[in-house]
């Protein structure tokens, strides 16, 4: 999966890929003060195209809000919600709107799920439907944080650590390996990283083609940009 960190103050964005074995569960957001946790489990392709490297995607997300007693499990098949032990199941095949005291859910048929946790966070999960008979690929999900300003300063996770921004400097770009994509040096979190100017896709408005977002790409699983290393973010279960 590719990660995008938008930095409106700098009018710029950072991006990196995370690739690990399919089935790995990563912590994306963890805010100990609000009790919000978002974990995502990766899936691979149906079978690996011998001509390319194996890509991974997110196939399931687990979302917990301890204070509200909310647990949400979103997969490419269905959406399971429980609030204080009460359970409900929603399907991607229906337009559904659920309004709860602390959480609103809105499913746009075969497209997206918008989750609003009161006074906490708003995010969208995008469903990427892939042709069922595609030889390699299968359905996968994207996770977009729309409003994160209410998270505490202690929020961390692969996405969460960037909710309050990140300080970095970029040198003058210079020609890189790819003639169309200049490289530069980025000074971030005490590291000097070689980064490449590229773009990644925002699929919120156009789920099929996406919209290009220019960004500085940090190689090697975001090493140097993310706190610690990838293993610090792997967890044993979705909840």
């Amino acid at each position: 999966p590719h990660f995008i960190i938008e930095l409106p103050d700098k009018n710029d964005a950072l991006c990196f890929n995370i690739n690990d074995k399919p089935g790995t569960i990563f912590n994306l957001v963890k805010d100990p003060l609000t009790g919000t946790v978002v974990n995502g489990q990766t899936i691979g392709d149906k079978k690996v195209n011998p001509a390319s490297k194996e890509n991974t995607y997110f196939g399931r997300f687990g979302i917990i809000h301890e204070k509200f007693g909310i647990r949400l499990m979103v997969s490419t098949q269905e959406i399971l919600v429980s609030e204080h032990g009460k359970q409900a199941k929603l399907f991607w095949s229906d337009n559904t709107s659920v309004k709860g005291l602390n959480m609103d859910l809105q499913v746009t048929k075969d497209r997206s799920l918008t989750v609003t946790l009161r006074n906490s966070v708003k995010f969208v999960i995008i469903l990427h439907k892939v042709w069922k008979k595609h030889p390699y690929h299968q359905d996968y999900l994207g996770f977009y944080t729309l409003d994160s300003h209410l998270f505490s300063r202690r929020v961390n996770g692969l996405l969460g650590q960037f909710y309050h921004g990140v300080q970095f400097e970029v040198s003058e770009p210079f020609a890189g390996k790819d003639v169309d994509k200049p490289d530069a040096f980025m000074f971030v979190k005490g590291h000097r990283l070689l980064v490449t100017r590229g773009w990644q896709k925002d699929f919120r408005n156009d789920v099929k083609n996406g919209e290009n977002v220019p960004c500085w790409f940090i190689h090697n699983n975001g090493t140097g940009l993310i706190d610690g290393d990838l293993t610090d973010y792997t967890v044993s279960g979705l909840f």
């Binding site: 990660f3 995008i4 990427h128």
Partner: protein, 633 residues
């Protein structure tokens, strides 16, 4: 697509006249809005015509006259109109839909590019049957000409053969200076009103161009009611029967309020519901029986059976209401079924009077999200449980409700749905709706006309007649020459079984209105068509698939025949070709309540104008919050 900014100097478009001419004959109102503008500029420019008409009205005509040439709108089947529209788009022409809505009104707007020093006259006609609420009919005319108009006039002529009991008029923009300009003449059966301020009288202040004319103009009146049988008018082979007898005693009612207290009601909506219920409970009559059910995913009854509306019980209910808190999901199905059980048990156990009217008032702000969530199954469950024994009224609070679901469910059970708009006056809206249905006068109202005499009757059975309202039945006569026939109305009254019998006779309009050789000719036939279409549209929503198909076909045929823009038809308006723009097709639609979602207070005005800058609206703003995400390539 390139967006081209239009450079328009509003001072160079002169609105020469705005005239609103409303003629009402026996509650059937025919309104013509005419507006003329002159492009004084030495270049061509866009001129806008934006008017509002009541939601209950059907557009019947629209035309534009430019330099002596008239372009007339044509009513077509919606699908065909859509095809024409799509064709226009695919051939590279700009085309747009003409529609918008508000709380009581909906907007018709069109813009046309006219040549330098050219005149344009827009004319829009719409018709509606005025409905009687709280003992009066209301004509509402919204005027917002946005600039001073050389000739501005509102004129209304009302012809009521039953005689006008009273007539009031007021306008939200009327000042002490403008008040004497409202001329009102009311005779026994006829009223004439006019309001025509001069340019100077329209001015906000002596030296400014701002206009005072901005708001709503209301005419409210009622007719005399002398006969129990009501008033029957026969004109040219059609008849209409207005039924609202005076001095009927109120029926006792059995009402269960079913109140949504799911999470989404929390805050203002719950607070307003609690406040409205305090007054509504106080307004119950002592002979009424009532119950309260609140629901989220759990169904909570105030009491397991109906209670007499004694002061003590009402006070206890008010305490219960004060403590309703919003939390959880929405289980509409089980809540309504529980209300049906309570009412059914009361009738079965004879704890309520035999002549009483039973009703459920459901208030909800959202779709079902718990228990049974399939809307068709819920509708079936409710219909089967009610079995025609009580009426269901649904109040949809806010815009998140599936209004169509509530509307159909109410209509299937002899009731009606109403949208409650989220605003500071929601309490008054709730109380107002309750007041409308608070006093049933008759139940099981049957209208009987000799089968060999009349045909094509509109609905002739009504579950209830409420105080201050009126039942209207219309039909065709088998013989156009026929001047009288027997009529019988029977219903359950408060004390006795109500039966009124009599003979309907054609009146001589030229005797009643001797000076008025022409009112608007075929109005009884058009009233019949209007009412029939309304009822067929209802049937289209609630019947079996076969009934729905038949009702749709019939309603469409009538809409086309009588030139009504209904939800099944569209008015296709062709804008003329100019040097800058090719011929353009626009389509005016009639919105259903379901399609009106999300629009509350549009900025609308009557007359012609030049465009103002469009300011983009931000619905949500997370100022500096970054949007971070993870997704696939």
């Amino acid at each position: 697509k390139l967006l081209k900014k239009r450079s328009v100097n509003s001072a160079e478009t002169e609105v020469q006249s705005v005239k609103i001419d409303c003629k009402v004959a026996s509650r059937f109102a025919h309104t013509v809005m005419t507006s003329t503008a002159l492009n004084k500029a030495n270049v061509s420019q866009e001129v806008f015509f934006e008017v509002e008409l009541p939601k209950t009205a059907f557009i019947t005509n629209f035309s534009m006259e430019i330099d002596g040439k008239t372009y007339v709108g044509e009513v077509k089947e919606k699908e065909k109109a859509k095809k024409q529209y799509e064709k226009a788009v695919s051939s590279g022409q700009t085309a747009g839909l003409v529609k918008a809505s508000g709380r009581k009104m909906e907007k018709f707007s069109v813009s046309v590019n006219i040549a330098a020093n050219s005149n344009i006259t827009f004319t829009l006609t719409y018709e509606e049957l005025l409905q009687r609420h709280f003992g009066k009919y209301e004509i509402m005319i919204r005027v917002k000409p946005k600039q001073l108009v050389q000739h501005f006039e509102i004129a209304a002529d009302i012809y009521e053969p039953q005689g006008i009991a009273f007539l009031d008029t007021y306008a939200t923009f009327i000042t002490n200076e403008l008040l004497p300009l409202v001329e009102k003449t009311v005779t026994d059966k006829k009223a004439h009103l006019s309001f025509s301020p001069t340019l100077d009288q329209q001015r906000k202040c002596p030296d400014c161009d701002g206009t005072l004319i901005d708001g709503d103009f209301f005419i409210k009146y009622d007719v005399n009611r002398v006969q129990d049988l009501g008033d029957i008018q026969i004109v040219n082979g059609y008849f209409v029967h207005f039924f609202a007898p005076a001095d009927l005693q109120r029926l006792p009612k059995n009402v269960v309020f079913v109140i949504d207290r799911s999470g989404s009601m929390s805050g203002k909506k719950m607070e307003q519901t609690r406040e409205a219920l305090q007054t509504i409970l106080d307004d119950l009559y002592e002979e009424d029986h009532f119950g309260l059910i609140t629901f989220d995913d759990k169904i909570v009854e105030w009491r397991p059976s109906l209670s007499n509306a004694t002061k003590k019980n009402v006070n206890a209910a008010k305490t219960f209401v004060k403590n309703i808190q919003a939390v959880g999901w929405t289980n509409i199905n089980d809540a309504v079924l529980r209300a049906v059980d309570i009412l059914t048990a009361a009738e079965k156990n004879k704890t309520v009077p035999g002549n009483s009217a039973s009703m459920i008032i459901l208030l909800t702000d959202g779709d079902p999200t718990f228990g049974e969530q399939n809307l068709d199954i819920i509708k079936n469950n409710v219909k089967n449980a009610i079995g025609g024994n009580m009426s269901l009224f649904c109040l949809g609070f806010g815009y998140d409700v599936d209004y169509n679901f509530l509307d159909v469910m109410a209509k299937q059970n002899d009731g009606l749905a109403r949208r409650i708009y989220e605003a500071s006056d929601a309490v008054l809206q709730l109380q107002g709706f309750y007041d409308e249905v608070a006093s049933p006068l008759l139940s099981e109202v049957h209208f009987n006309y000799p089968e060999d005499t009349v045909n094509s009757l509109t609905g002739s059975y009504f579950k209830q007649l409420f105080n201050g309202s009126e039942i209207v039945v219309a039909g065709q006569l088998n013989d156009i020459e026929m001047n009288d026939f027997a009529v019988e109305v029977s219903a359950q009254g408060a004390e006795n079984y109500f039966v009124a019998k009599g003979q309907a006779s054609a009146q001589k309009w030229d005797t009643i209105f001797p000076d008025q050789e022409y009112i608007f000719g075929d109005f009884t036939e058009r009233l019949w068509a209007y009412l029939t279409i309304q009822q067929l549209l209802d049937k289209k929503d609630k019947g079996t698939p076969e009934e729905k198909a038949n009702a749709t076909a019939e309603a469409l045929e009538l809409s086309l025949k009588y030139n009504f823009v209904t939800p099944l038809t569209s008015m296709v308006v062709t804008k003329p070709e100019t040097d800058e723009k090719p011929e353009d097709t626009l389509i005016a639609d009639k919105l259903t309540e379901d399609q009106r979602t999300g629009v509350s207070t549009p900025n609308q005005h009557t007359g012609v104008s030049t465009p103002s800058q469009t300011v983009p609206q931000t619905s949500y703003s997370y100022a500096s919050s970054p949007i971070n995400w993870v997704d696939g390539d």
